[in-house]
């Protein structure tokens, strides 16, 4: 027999692997209870991952929608325009478009540029008159290099150069009760402040999923917009698309650096333009995050009960371990390990099922038109949404659940470790 060791040299606890191994085997003592607890956690994690993936997918589709149909990746404005953008001030127009285009296209990461004129107008079918946005676009080619409007034409056709016609948002068309070939009167203030009216034929209807366009906008050739607004040249903005391989923020920084000294031009990224929407997105993320966290916490609280029961059932065993010299910390670690393992197993099951479901819908999409119809869900998305698979969310929710499960086991573990060995051994 070996000589007894001195107390100063002993750990008095099991090592991490031995603790995990014993914890794992203890979980298998009452498999049905373990699985019931783990299943609750699995369902919570599944819901969290599904909801987060849906949110990520909707956000990404919303961002793509904004970039493809409304903002591009960035825009150049004449100085003073952006701060007064709600008034659509025509007096702050870009003038030397060719030189600006040449400059921006020389910036690394910028793939295309197109001028646009955005102006406030009244549209009338002779009966109703609605205030909306007119957007003059370069239909000779450059607008389609930046925006993806042609793909959204649901009726009729895309604009042709110098066409005396317009593309009408699908919501506006419905509101007016008009269709292809009908004529609408456009009434707008010229750059000089005089009123100008012109009749234009509806050549196409666009449905982008973006309420600003579908419900409030019409598009017309740039030359026609200039004619109505009495602008000889220029545009209210120069919209830019970045190369698919370009780093968005780095490209924007380069652009802003290029015009840093300019007194005439300012550069804004699409997130700056949509700061209200981005604030809303952040708010929704926080709201949903809190809701989901509460859900997980409720599920994980079940682990507290399970570990309490396990500790109660094994009171004598705890006393025996204490008699053999297992310190209170060792008892705590053992039950924390059991709680964490239950959480991790449940979360792993939830993640596997969750990933399978998310992967399926990420490919097939979820048709929301049946659920919501034309109802505004707060995001500029259309018909079908595709959940976004995010590894950080999957792994993060898995690990977080393990941590929460361990935290949920703190109380029963501490309770078990506070037992007096003699009392524990006496337990029947």
């Amino acid at each position: 027999m070996g000589a007894a060791m001195t107390p100063e040299t002993i750990p008095g606890t099991l090592g991490p692997w031995a603790t995990l191994r014993l914890g794992w085997r203890n979980l298998r003592r009452n498999r049905r209870r373990t699985w019931i607890t783990a299943t609750t956690v699995a369902l919570a994690v599944l819901l969290v991952q599904a909801a987060m993936s849906l949110l990520i997918g909707i956000e990404q589709q919303s961002f793509n929608n904004l970039i493809n149909y409304q903002t591009g990746h960035a825009k150049l404005y004449a100085a003073g325009y952006f701060e007064n953008r709600d008034e659509l001030p025509l007096e702050h127009a870009l003038t030397d478009l060719s030189a600006l285009e040449e400059t921006v296209l020389s910036v690394g990461g910028v793939a295309a540029a197109t001028p646009r004129i955005v102006f406030s107008a009244q549209l009338s079918n002779g009966v109703d008159q609605i205030a909306c946005l007119g957007v003059g676009i370069d239909v000779t080619g450059s607008d389609t290099d930046v925006f993806r409007i042609p793909q959204t034409v649901v009726e009729g056709q895309y604009l042709r150069p110098s066409e005396e016609g317009l593309l009408l948002g699908s919501g506006l068309a419905e509101l007016f009760g008009v269709s292809l070939g009908d004529w609408l009167t456009v009434l707008a203030k010229t750059q000089a402040g005089a009123y100008e009216a012109i009749d234009l034929e509806i050549v196409g209807v666009v449905g982008t999923g973006n309420p600003l366009i579908d419900q409030n906008s019409f598009l017309l050739p740039l030359e026609m917009a200039r004619y109505i607004l009495d602008m000889e040249s220029g545009a209210t903005e120069l919209a830019l698309r970045f190369a698919t391989t370009a780093n968005e923020s780095a490209t924007l920084q380069r652009l802003q650096g290029t015009f840093a000294e300019s007194q005439e031009v300012e550069v804004k990224g699409w997130r700056d333009m949509e700061e209200d929407f981005m604030s809303l997105v952040k708010l929704k993320r926080v709201g949903q995050g809190i809701f989901l966290a509460i859900f997980v916490v409720l599920a994980v609280v079940g682990i507290t009960n399970t570990i309490l029961m396990a500790a109660f059932e094994r009171t004598t065993e705890i006393g025996m371990m204490m008699a053999m010299g297992l310190r209170n910390a060792g008892i705590r670690r053992l039950f924390l390990a059991e709680g964490a393992l239950t959480g991790l197993i449940g979360a792993a099951v939830g993640s596997v099922v969750g990933v399978a479901i998310i992967a399926y819908f990420a490919v097939q999409g979820i048709d929301i038109s049946a659920m919501y119809g034309d109802m505004d869900i707060g995001y500029p998305v259309k018909d079908t949404i595709y959940p976004g698979m995010n590894v950080a969310v999957i792994v993060g929710s898995w690990l977080l659940t393990g941590v929460l499960a361990a935290i949920a086991s703190l109380y029963p573990a501490a309770r078990a470790s506070r037992m007096q060995p003699v009392e524990a051994l006496r337990h029947v």
């Binding site: 007894a4 107390p7 008095g12 053999m324 010299g325 297992l326 209170n328």
Partner: protein, 236 residues
């Protein structure tokens, strides 16, 4: 002769609701190193209380306890745990093996608590003690796959594997038939003789008492008699 444990004027009282119940009323006892001592007495005489105090599982109301020359008075729970870990072995009436561990792992458990990180050394120690208790070929079984006698053999091996100063056994044969009880007592005796480990066990079974070399009888919390038996040396 070295003293393995000493109880000096030990009193122990318990609170049962608002009533104070005296369990021990002034116990004085010296246990020599290498003793094979039986504490006998009827239920409620204080046998288990003495064992709990000797095992540093409980503290006396008054009086002092020394084990291996060290007093247990005023030690923190962690220090007491470490003390039990290094100096004491326990054998329980209901075996108290960990059912999810194999025989080998149960016996290995105290060595892990001592931080013996060398797996090969642990295996050598466990194999050796399992061989001594006659369970070398059952090392990979789980406790529930063993008979009561075999489980108690595992408990004996677990108590001895770390080379304790003192092994405490609270009615170690109470859950065994008389034949198996005799085998367990014979095993403990042989371990006592071979390793010189001090054994203190409680019982009220005369057949078990006859294995002891010293018999201390308790009654109502006091030592009624303390005698040398079976040719054993009288330590008191």
């Amino acid at each position: 002769m070295t003293i393995a444990a000493r109880l000096t004027d030990v009193h122990k009282t318990y609170l049962a609701g608002s009533v104070t119940v005296p369990a021990l009323k002034g116990i004085n006892l010296e246990i020599d190193d290498g003793a094979f001592l039986s504490i006998a007495g009827p239920s409620g005489s204080g046998k288990t209380t003495v064992l709990n105090l000797l095992g540093a599982l409980d503290t006396p109301s008054t009086g002092t306890i020394q084990i291996g020359g060290r007093t247990t008075e005023g030690l923190s729970p962690t220090t007491l745990a470490d003390f039990r870990n290094t100096h004491l072995g326990f054998i329980f009436q209901t075996f108290n093996l960990i059912p999810v561990l194999t025989v080998r792992e149960n016996v290995e458990f105290p060595l892990q608590l001592q931080g013996m990180s060398d797996k090969a050394e642990r295996k050598t120690r466990v194999d050796a003690i399992l061989g001594e208790v006659g369970l070398g070929d059952l090392a990979e079984r789980r406790p529930l796959e063993l008979s009561g006698g075999q489980q108690q053999r595992v408990a004996v091996a677990r108590a001895l594997v770390k080379g304790p100063t003192l092994v405490l056994a609270d009615e170690p044969t109470a859950n065994l038939d008389s034949g198996t009880a005799g085998e367990i007592m014979a095993l403990m005796q042989s371990m006592n003789a071979k390793h010189g480990t001090t054994f203190v066990f409680s019982t009220h079974d005369p057949l078990v008492m006859k294995h002891a070399t010293r018999l201390v009888r308790l009654r109502d919390g006091r030592i009624e008699s303390d005698e040398r038996v079976n040719g054993g040396r009288h330590d008191a």
